[in-house]
């Protein structure tokens, strides 16, 4: 299957989070969705026993040309999907550049050092400020909060994927999401995942509208979908 040209090739995505948030599942779903569209996908990740409670990162590289290194070179991330807000900032020190974009969950997972009172966790405002300083675009989604409302915090990763699809950075369709979920999970999980995916896309749309209307004072028409 011939894949459409990408304006950035390879397009480099980093999924950042904390062990147990479903990084690996998310990178596999996203990779499989794009692989079905004929793209060359290379994924690099770290998982296993020593990731308990630690920072985790998946590198996902999308290309119409070939596979690449499973590790993204320094300064070459195009998109950071942060399942945990401070983790999105952390990866920029090595992989960021002025053109990078960030899509971030807002729900913090406090490191044990913060729980113990030895370290400080920043406010979400501080994180947003840093993200806007370091990235060309940054969007924040209350993914875990919504996932808890759906009944399971782990769905936060699917909400984030839905939100990413809404950015139209890559050709992601709901249909390929459905196919991949059916291949990877028991059938009874499909509805909940589809719901989370759609919710994510909708939440992103609201965030984008909100930002647009705030940036253009007086353009009340932007509030109408």
């Amino acid at each position: 299957m011939a894949s459409a040209q990408l304006s950035i090739d390879p397009y480099n995505i980093i999924i950042a989070g904390v062990g147990g948030q479903g990084n690996v599942v998310l990178s596999r779903i996203l990779g499989n969705m794009l692989s079905r569209r004929g793209y060359f996908i290379t994924v690099g990740e770290s998982f296993g026993g020593t990731q308990r409670g630690g920072s985790v990162m998946s590198h996902l590289r999308v290309s119409a040309r070939s596979i690449w290194s499973p590790l993204i070179p320094k300064g070459r991330a195009d998109m950071v999907i942060a399942l945990e807000p401070s983790e999105g900032i952390r990866v920029l020190a090595h992989y960021g550049n002025p053109k990078v974009k960030i899509l971030s969950n807002t729900r913090a997972i406090h490191p044990v050092g913060v729980i113990a009172g030895e370290l400080q966790y920043p406010s979400i405002e501080e994180i947003k400020k840093s993200a806007h300083e370091l990235a060309s675009d940054a969007w924040f989604i209350d993914a875990t909060d919504e996932a808890l409302r759906l009944g399971n915090p782990i769905l936060g990763n699917i909400i984030m994927l839905g939100a990413f699809s809404g950015l139209s950075a890559l050709p992601l369709e709901k249909e390929s999401f459905r196919e991949v979920i059916l291949e990877m999970m028991p059938e009874d999980k499909l509805d909940m995942n589809l719901k989370a995916y759609e919710l994510g896309a909708e939440m992103l749309r609201r965030v984008v509208l909100d930002t647009t209307s705030r940036n253009k004072p007086g353009s009340g028409a932007m509030n109408v979908i």
Binding site: V18, G20, G44, W68, P70, L71, R107, I109, V112
Partner: protein, 647 residues
């Protein structure tokens, strides 16, 4: 992933490296597959176990790596294709058997797959098995991308049968735990009426019909060297040794494994495709001399890119030195010259940096102003994440009790750790109680030694911890030694019901095997009781009783005492997603920093599900993280942390 066993020749999938390896073995018609779990290797065996019945394969999670090799070898001796899979240090465990297996030779194709961990991402070492290939005189293959993981594993079985000996195929974390597109090949017909037989009634030295022995050693060693020479000749024309680049490159990179992808990327980043040639070797021991000579002749400058130690570098240099009269002297860059580090994993940037210096080209990976800004933001917004036990983990509770018992005992006691999540007990997560951590089973082994030092005046409490899978793997030998020599040791088995760290693979203590079939289970308590030592069994979530028992056992200074703490892992299928208690903080009772406990719950206990509310100055349950184990209710002296049973 059932598609691994689908008849889908020509179809492309995004496969995890370890799935690609499993598919390669399926395409080769493997019949016996054995392994011991270890990151980053475990998914190979897991993939095979899922299709074991469907494909008529025997899949076994063996008790340890040496057994995995032995069981697989039996398959090979009976002319079946067999494989054994493990992480890098597993090869050390079985190396004694391997030394003799290489000498006796094999019959059915037999492949040894170590998945190594440069950079020690999920290991407490970054050892390599590559040196074993040279030491044992067996061929070593190193796939250079995801497609090759599949193709070369398949080919390794053919090669093994061609030379009549074991073949090693080495993977690394970034391949095993990476994913890439893989085009599937043909699966053989499912062979249901296969008849295995070990033919051993022929002439003693007949490799196909004789006995599988290594004596006379000179005969078998000679045979072994003939086999490895044959492999070397085959390697001269092996399609997995590839070259990309100009006819006369200014610099030749020789590389293998994941470093092939890093090198390719670095060449693209620096835009030096017309100046640099890339020789990717799939066959790294023994090196094919004619092929090496052909490429060394192309240029005078050579950079060797590999992980971790300069293994290929040294082997290439030996050949290059012998070839000087024909091809002249060469300048080598790599690890010995300091262009690349001799520890840790490589990446595209490290290769790019080496290329930049050697070729004198400019390359900026990140604008300096941006880098500074990003570093400041990280310091401000991304507090360090220390590793810890999962919420609801029985180890946090166990170490809480061990720590308290050691304090009560008051003899500067310490814990000899072992391999498993509980190895993190050296961190604040385990209240820094673990003070030694080496190999599988070494906790009780070393403790057995400490327990003898009373002869020299040592009077510290000696405690060893060991997981259930580790107990069977190698812990049991240490226990025998300690009991037989009457060592003063308190031995704690942290039984969480499976090989938890690597994903709940079964072990001899469980009632199912790798293929999901029912099997007899071995009872750790009964085994320990049979040694005629004191054995107690407890629930680590019962803090009071555990501490009481432990204190008593430590006071009893005669020989080995065993405490088995049983509670399934929080991520186990039995417990995952099942909340036992609804946790709640009574903010009227929690007086925060004014309490004499000095925030025992959050400052010391440090469960990720129990956080500090900076505004209200009380503890708070994080409902997205807490799994409702209820243990923290017992550590709060004020009774502010409360649990309610979930109906």
């Amino acid at each position: 992933m059932s598609y691994l066993a689908d008849d889908n020749e020509g179809v492309k999938y995004l496969l995890l490296g370890n799935e690609a390896i499993a598919r390669g073995a399926l395409e080769a018609g493997v019949k016996v597959a054995c392994g011991y779990p270890g990151t980053p290797s475990s998914e190979i065996m897991e993939s095979l176990s899922r299709v074991a019945h469907e494909r008529n394969i025997y899949v076994e999670w063996s008790t340890n790596e040496k057994l995995a090799m032995e069981v697989a070898a039996a398959g090979s001796f009976a002319k079946l294709r067999s494989m054994c899979v493990m992480k890098q240090n597993g090869v050390n465990v079985g190396s004694d058997f391997l030394l003799h297996l290489a000498l006796s030779g094999t019959r059915g194709g037999m492949v040894l797959i170590p998945c190594e961990d440069p950079g020690a991402i999920s290991s407490i070492n970054e050892g390599e098995a590559r040196m074993f290939a040279r030491m044992l005189e067996i061929p070593l293959l190193e796939p250079g991308d995801f497609q090759e993981l599949k193709d070369m594993v398949k080919w390794a079985f053919d090669l093994s049968e061609e030379i009549g000996n074991l073949v090693m195929v080495r993977s690394v974390t970034r391949l095993s735990h990476g994913s890439g597109n893989v085009k599937c090949g043909k699966l053989p017909e499912i062979d249901t009426d296969v008849h295995a037989e070990f033919t051993c009634d022929g002439f003693m030295l007949d490799p196909d019909k004789g006995a599988m022995i290594t004596m006379p050693v000179d005969h078998f060693h000679d045979q072994l060297q003939e086999k490895v020479k044959k492999a070397r000749d085959i390697f001269e024309d092996c399609p997995f040794n590839t070259y990309h680049g100009p006819e006369k490159p200014e610099l030749l990179i020789i590389t293998s494994s994941a470093c092939n992808l890093y090198s390719k990327e670095a060449i693209a980043l620096l835009d030096v495709e017309d100046r640099v040639g890339l020789l990717k070797l799939g066959t790294t021991w023994p090196l094919p001399p004619k092929l090496i000579k052909k490429y060394l002749s192309k240029t005078d400058k050579i950079l060797i890119v590999e992980e971790v130690l300069p293994f290929m570098e040294e082997n290439v240099k030996v050949l290059a030195a012998e070839m000087v009269p024909e091809i002249g002297g060469k300048t080598f860059y790599g690890k010995n010259a300091g262009n690349l580090p001799t520890l840790g994993e490589l990446n595209p940037d490290l290769v790019a940096t080496a290329l930049k210096t050697i070729l004198g080209v400019e390359y900026e990976d990140m604008p300096e102003t941006y880098e500074k800004k990003a570093q400041v933001a990280t310091l401000r917004c991304a507090p360090r994440r220390e590793l810890t036990f999962c919420p609801g983990c029985p180890h946090r509770a166990s170490f809480w009790s061990i720590h308290n018992a050691l304090q009560l005992d008051g003899r500067k006691g310490f814990v000899c750790g072992d391999i498993g999540c509980y190895g993190l007990g050296f961190l604040p997560a385990g209240f820094n109680t673990v003070k030694l951590l080496h190999a599988m089973g070494s906790g009780i082994g070393v403790a057995s030694g400490f327990g003898q030092l009373r002869q020299f005046g040592m009077d510290q409490a000696v405690v060893a911890v060991c997981g259930d899978s580790t107990f069977f793997h190698a812990g049991i030998n240490g226990l025998f030694n300690a009991v037989h020599h009457n060592s003063d040791v308190t031995f704690i088995v942290l039984d969480n019901g499976g090989t938890a760290m690597t994903g709940f693979q079964p072990h001899p203590g469980l009632t199912v095997n790798a293929m999901g079939d029912e099997v007899p289970s071995l009872d750790i308590a009964a085994i320990c009781s049979a040694l005629a030592v004191r054995v107690e069994i407890g629930d680590p979530f019962d803090l009071e009783e555990t501490q009481e028992t432990l204190t008593e056992l430590m006071q009893d200074k005669k020989g080995v005492k065993v405490l088995i703490l049983r509670k399934n892992c929080a991520l186990s299928p039995e417990r995952k997603g099942k909340i036992e208690y609804e946790m709640h903080i009574d903010e009227q009772i929690c007086i925060g920093e004014n309490c004499g406990c000095n925030r025992l719950c959050t400052r010391i206990f440090r469960c990720p599900g129990l956080v500090w509310n900076n505004e209200k100055k009380t503890s708070r349950i994080d409902e997205a993280i807490c799994v409702g184990c209820g243990v923290c209710a017992d550590i709060c002296p004020a009774g502010a942390i409360q649990r309610k049973e979930v109906a």
